[in-house]
């Protein structure tokens, strides 16, 4: 039986005011504000030990010896783990590209500062850390590989000797007649960009409790796991266990944003449990560990990029060369990060041809990991900055240049040169609304007045497309083993008609439990208070993926609706039997199976569920006494990529335009955001407050990436950032309180018309701020093409401009 998933909220079988589409209070929140949620460090198991990890102080060194005898004899210590145990018991973690994975702990040599070298399990964390000081490690220092340039030089030291090179992956894509459009262009606008490392830094670091049952060879891991099933498969691989003997129990998470890490910490705690006779071992990463070596460093990128432009401002081609410093290994699936821009390579524009030349390089920086958006935030910064450079060179207003190049509403569904299909949109409409919301003419007047006073004000009008609801097909051409993106649920009614939805993921902050409760309540015609959402452990949950790729709100909605459609069929069969009516005469409405022509005649779902569970004598033959249904949703209509990576990869294409006003302090180089407006369209807003929270949160992270945050390393690959005193997270003073409005163009292909919306602001904000800074600098003939635009970088440009003015105009660009 083909299941049809409702594509609009109006199709839900309910006349009561719907929960879907309203900013209802979140079901997660009463426990969260009470402080009673079981974040992993709040969990305690009987006999639990505590793990502390000794980390390498060197970026590149051979391990000559590790002496753990004194640590083993120390107070409270039960087990010590070293690389020798790991070599004996483990395989390196999965990676993409394949073959660039590390073991959970250094074996033979260390490849970055902070890499685990040994670990201790003791009766308290304090005693475990005491014991670390007693471990003697002798290192033989090796020359570090600090930069991609060094890594790619002939005769460079090798980060992974067995690979014979430091280049993890080199791949060229060409879509359309790129050489021709560049040859025929009236202008070619090209720049080099540098995006320095930033990262997720959720407020809760990674943590887990692992217990290795030595009797039956089953490993149970509780922890702050973003993608539980994926994590379980990975652990089965690295720890050489059958996958059905790894149970992952996802606890609520204090944020994630892709950069939660976890594989190394989990494997280390698991192995310590194995050495400690099966006692549970807790590992809670501290912030310094996270900053040094957690899953929190992303996007260390060098771009060479160009637009081909006709005299009238029509952009016809886009070429990008990316060199990505992945650090010491690809355990964070670096290829995905580099390849994700294929899903929206040419942004909002009708650019006919494009080329992408990407090189992933290994160095002795920490391995990089996913972060909100995965690849598009830096890519969009490059594209949108080049649009602004073009606007300046052609003396066209940046909003007008974008307007001229937009994909037009009648062109949807629209296939971009890199292959993905955008489902729907009206970019011009969003642009006009945000220009009105920001009062763009007034901003320009304010800028002109400020410039006349010698002040540096800048304005940007920046837009992006957010590929939503990801699928692995996009990555099949870059060597990524597909793990699948099913999202499965079980919807169950109890004997009283209460509803429980079992899901495979846990809370991370986006409010998916609330969305799930809204959707199921509307379909089954119950109050949200009658619904409970519960996380199943990975061994019994339906196939699932969890948070990632702007997908879960859409995916869990599809899964619940699919299960509800199955329930409707079962309940209709039972009601038809009990009421002695043909099933075709019955419909589901407002929580009742009732006669189409006489709604008073029918049964409530609670009555049917109760009957099914308690009176098998009244059931029709062949119907199980089970008012429950499962459904596993995945995006429909996906196809395999061609040799240039082209395929329908991301189901939905939300989009937004941001208008920012910034001012640069001439004396200090400090940038202040004076005004910020957003108009977006992510289709149906299942819970508008959740959507606004995702937007504003993305803005904050974008502000951090654009202005403050940076993982700084010295020339020897020593990290200079190890605390929040060095890694500057934006506070309430730095993040603009934004003005927001929106349109709703329901996705024609997604459940209830909702599009993925968790990452878009992170794709847009860094570009919006950098473009506004460059608009401010334009009168000085200077451009900043590096992030973050920290005061010292801006100040240096101002100094150069000042001396240039003093020495006569030169018009140099940096």
């Amino acid at each position: 039986m083909a299941i049809e998933i409702p594509t609009l909220p109006e199709q839900l079988p309910n006349d009561a005011p719907r929960h879907v589409g309203k900013a209802v209070n979140r079901v997660e929140d009463p426990a969260l504000v009470s402080g009673t949620v079981e974040f992993i460090d709040n969990c305690v198991l009987p006999g639990m030990l505590h793990c502390a990890i000794l980390r390498s102080p060197h970026p590149h060194a051979r391990i000559v010896s590790v002496d753990t005898s004194a640590a083993l004899a120390a107070d409270g210590v039960v087990a010590v783990l070293t690389g020798e145990d790991v070599r004996r018991w483990c395989d390196p973690v999965f990676t993409a590209p394949e073959g660039w994975g590390n073991y959970c702990m250094a074996v033979d040599k260390v490849r970055f500062v902070g890499e685990p070298v040994a670990a201790v399990a003791a009766s308290s964390r304090y005693l475990a850390e005491d014991a670390l000081e007693l471990i003697e490690v002798e290192y033989e220092l090796l020359t570090p590989v600090a930069t991609p340039e060094q890594a790619m030089a002939s005769g460079a030291p090798l980060v992974f000797e067995e690979r014979g090179t430091n280049v993890m992956l080199a791949r060229k894509y060409e879509w359309g007649e790129v050489d021709r459009v560049f040859a025929e262009a009236d202008h070619v606008v090209s720049r080099r960009f540098r995006w320095n490392r930033v990262g997720a830094n959720p407020t809760e670091t990674f943590g887990c409790i692992c217990q290795w049952d030595l009797a039956d060879g089953t490993l149970t891991c509780r922890g702050s796991y973003q993608t539980p099933r994926f994590m379980g498969i990975g652990r089965a691989g690295s720890l050489r266990l059958p996958a059905n003997r790894v149970r992952i129990i996802a606890q609520p998470m204090g944020g994630g944003f892709g950069g939660k890490g976890g594989p190394r910490g989990t494997d280390i705690a698991a192995l310590l449990s194995r050495k400690a006779g099966g006692r549970p071992v807790k590992y809670i990463e501290d912030r310094m560990e996270y900053l040094l070596a957690g899953g929190g460093q992303s996007w260390d990128r060098y771009y060479d990029a160009a637009l081909a432009v006709k005299a009238d401002g029509t952009v016809t081609g886009f070429r990008v060369r990316l060199v990505d410093n992945q650090g010491a290994g690809a355990e964070g699936y670096g290829t995905i990060s580099a390849a994700k821009p294929l899903a929206a390579f040419t942004g909002n524009y009708r650019i006919e041809a494009a080329a992408y030349d990407l090189t992933l390089v290994a160095t002795n920086r920490a391995p990089s990991y996913p972060y909100r958006g995965y690849g598009p935030p830096p890519h969009n910064l490059v594209l949108e900055s080049l649009m602004d450079c073009t606007a300046r060179e052609l003396q066209i207003d940046p909003a007008e240049l974008r307007r001229r190049n937009y994909i037009r509403p009648e062109q949807f569904p629209y296939t971009v040169p890199s292959g993905n299909e955008y489902d729907s949109g009206n970019y011009g409409q969003v642009l006009e609304r945000v220009l009105a919301l920001a009062d763009y003419p007034a901003l320009r007047a304010r800028q002109a007045a400020a410039r006349a006073e010698g002040r540096l004000l800048g304005i940007s009008v920046v837009n992006t497309v957010e590929p939503g609801v990801f699928d692995w097909n996009a990555y099949a051409t870059v060597g990524v083993p597909g793990i699948g993106v099913p999202e499965g649920v079980k919807v169950a009614l109890d004997v009283f008609g209460n509803v429980t939805v079992a899901v495979g993921f846990n809370l991370q902050g986006q409010g998916q439990f609330t969305v799930a409760a809204q959707v199921v309540a509307d379909y089954l015609g119950v109050d949200m208070a009658q619904v409970r959402i519960s996380t199943a452990a990975s061994d019994v949950a339906m196939p699932h993926f969890g948070q990632g790729g702007s997908r879960l709100g859409v995916a869990v909605t599809g899964a619940i609706l699919g299960a509800c459609e199955k329930l409707k069929a079962i309940f209709t069969t039972v009601a038809a039997h009990v009421l002695q009516l043909p099933a075709d005469d019955l419909v589901l409405r407002n929580g009742r199976i009732q006669r189409r022509d006489a709604p008073a005649h029918g049964m409530s779902l609670a009555e049917i569920a109760g009957l099914m569970l308690t009176r098998s004598d009244l059931l029709p033959a062949g119907v199980e006494p089970c008012p429950e249904a499962t459904y596993v949703w995945t995006a429909p209509n996906r196809n395999a990529p061609d040799d240039q990576g082209r395929c329908r990869s991301y189901l939905t294409a939300a989009y937004a335009t941001h208008v920012a006003l910034v001012e640069i302090d001439r004396d200090t180089g400090r940038v202040d955001i004076l005004d910020y407006s957003i108009v977006d369209d992510c289709g149906t807003r299942l819970n508008p407050a959740n959507v606004e929270g995702q937007l504003q949160g993305g803005v904050a992270q974008g502000v951090g990436a654009a202005l403050y945050e940076e993982y700084v390393y010295d020339a020897q690959c020593q990290p200079l950032v190890s605390t929040f005193v060095d890694y500057l997270m934006p506070t309430i003073h730095e993040v603009p309180m934004t003005r927001k409005d929106h349109f709703v163009t329901p996705s024609p292909v997604a459940p209830l018309g909702a599009k993925g919306c968790g990452e878009g602001a992170m794709h847009t904000t860094p570009a919006a701020i950098l473009c506004a800074i460059n608009d401010a600098l334009a009168p000085l003939g200077k451009e900043l093409l590096e992030t973050p635009a920290s005061p010292h970088r801006v100040w240096k440009l101002l100094q150069e401009a000042g001396s240039a003015i003093a020495n006569g105009p030169t018009g140099t660009r940096t």
Binding site: T36, T203, Q701
Partner: protein, 164 residues
């Protein structure tokens, strides 16, 4: 390892007498010795503010305070906010729920305890005063806008004479 010291500390109105190591942080004492897990630890170096509690009604970082320093003092944690029997939320908690002032909720106890201190001293704060008070707390999820709205809503509801 080091000799333990006897401390007497009143936490959320309950008197505790314990022997603790001098190096034990107040955060670990609250979380692991007393089982009050609502005080979360985000950085352990005093920047993020997730572990903010009140000591004698003044906000303090529980990660930078040693348990022995709380000897003879009164500590209030997020667990003190909710009504003990009915479970009714404190107006600050309810305001954070109603104004969607949290996402993952990990930093929220620190924000709420800071808000409690602010509103006790200044029942009608301006937006700038709210920002000044909350400037030492990091939130990675919300972008702060809904937190600002939550505090305004709490202030409005807690003003003397406001409808219950």
């Amino acid at each position: 390892m080091s000799s333990k010291q006897r401390i007497e500390v009143r936490v959320n109105g309950i008197r505790h007498v314990r022997e603790v190591e001098p190096r034990l942080t107040l955060a670990d004492f609250l979380r692991h010795d007393l089982g009050l897990g609502g005080t979360h630890v985000g950085c352990e170096h005093g920047i993020c503010g997730a572990c903010t509690v009140l000591i004698d009604d003044r906000s303090a970082r529980a990660c930078l305070t040693l348990a022995v320093q709380a000897d003879g003092h009164e500590v209030a944690t997020v667990e003190s906010l909710r009504a003990p029997e009915s479970g009714a939320l404190h107006p600050i908690q309810q305001a954070f729920v109603d104004a969607h002032g949290l996402q993952c909720g990990f930093c929220t106890p620190g924000f709420m305890m800071t808000t409690l201190e602010l509103l006790r001293g200044n029942p009608d704060p301006t937006e700038e005063q709210i920002k000044e008070a909350l400037g030492g707390n990091l939130c990675r999820c919300t972008g702060y806008q809904s937190i600002l709205e939550s505090v305004k809503l709490a202030a409005q509801r807690m003003k003397p004479g406001a409808p219950a």
